[in-house]
Amino acid sequence: MEKELQASLDQKALLLREIHHRVKNNLQVISSMLELQSRFNDGKSVAELLRDAERRIRAMGLVHEKLYQSADLAGISVDEYLQGLVSDVFGFYGAGESGAVKVKMEFSGTSFGIDTAIPLGLIVSELVSNCLKHAFPIGRKGEVRITLCPVDEGEFELTVADNGIGLPECVDFESGRTLGLQLVGSLAAQIRGQIQVLRSSGAEFRLRFKGARMRQRGNNDHSTPNNDC
């Protein structure tokens, strides 16, 4: 009995450290995104840059909100998360209010750990906001379609497509001038994903990636994050 209690306490201590680690990681990611933004400002106003930053932080925050509401701490329902996230991005840009741009979502009841959910959410946030900012110049009607479905053992495909004015000739995820696309490229690599860009009618991004439930970090002792940070 005492052993079981001790094991339970140890488990709780481990989880607590894990949470601290993740909070610290997330803050570090936010700090890195802000630093990147200050470098890739692309002539945007401070207000625009702050709004982009706010949207990204909201995408990360929403994962934790869903996790907090979830009975299963190892994974969150990606369907619910992405639905909430896309609605949030639409609301954020005031899109959909006039009814000019509609959204269509199709998901297949998937659940991922936060190591997959956060990069995935940030990718969706970037791609959807890109659609809303560039694909539909004032007055143009259209649709944004977001789907996520399993395609193979442990592999999934995310599609973000629109029927707007289409993409510029060159879309560069590695050294492009826009921070959004570089973030998408880096985050796709984080979840071991491959991106395909299609230009059939408007723009279509397909991301094939490996989805995973929450993993416990490291077998070695990484138990003491630097407390000065």
Partner: protein
């Protein structure tokens, strides 16, 4: 080369380093990939996070890489407990920076690590040949440090001040490090001036007496001077 499992953190680091003039040959998130890429690309230096994707952590990865290469490795991590530090030391790192860390401190640490690696390599070569002062350097030291010794020492002091709270010299004191750099600077200057100590002192921006004092203190006094 950057080894870091958070891709956005790595992207930011790569952008900062490129802006400082470095070439980032590869960004890897797992130890296994880092070992393979280090072999392929032979980087001049590796910035290594400790917590990584995959089975290996940064310390095991560093040990594996250093078993077949002299590439300097600077750890860049959020962890600083004693157990981890002593494991990290075993891998012979060139530095240990605690996150969060600014681009200038990373830059300073990289410069010191590259410089020290070059100094050690040259001293080793000269020691193996039995003399500090008979073998001229084949190439200049690849560094952005100023040639003038006084400026160099000032730069070094500034850099050390900036990152002294975050850096670990793996058992060496700051004095050891600056002495070693000074010793090499004096030796290098004399070689560049074909043994002419007056010219060497001029090149270093110090007086001849100061040069002799340094050489005496550092045990590299030329044979013809007592």
């Amino acid at each position: 080369m950057i080894v870091e499992d958070e891709r956005i953190v790595a992207l930011n680091m790569a952008v900062e380093l490129r802006a400082l003039g470095y070439e980032v040959v590869s960004v890897e998130s797992s130890g296994e990939n880092a070992i393979a890429r280090a072999r392929e690309t032979s980087p001049d230096l590796i910035l290594m996070d400790i917590m990584l994707d995959g089975e290996m952590d940064g310390i095991d990865t560093a040990k594996a890489i250093r078993s077949s290469s002299d590439v300097p490795i600077v750890y860049l991590t959020a962890y600083s407990d004693e157990k981890l530090l002593s494991r990290a030391k075993e891998s012979g790192p060139a530095g240990y920076l605690l996150k969060p860390v600014g681009a200038r401190a990373v830059h300073a640490s990289i410069q010191i690590a590259l410089y020290m690696t070059e100094v050690e390599k040259r001293l080793k070569t000269c020691e193996a040949r039995g003399s500090y002062l008979t073998e001229p350097p084949t190439q200049p030291v690849p560094t952005h440090w100023p040639v003038n010794a006084r400026d160099l020492r000032n730069e070094l002091k500034k850099a050390l001040m900036e990152c002294s709270l975050n850096i670990d010299f793996c058992g060496r004191t700051l004095r050891d490090v600056t002495d070693q750099v000074t010793r090499y600077m004096c030796w290098d200057a004399i070689q560049r001036c074909n043994g002419n100590k007056k010219e060497a002192a001029k090149l270093l921006g110090i007086s001849r007496d100061s040069l002799y004092r340094h050489l005496k203190e550092l045990g590299v006094l030329p044979e013809d001077h007592n």
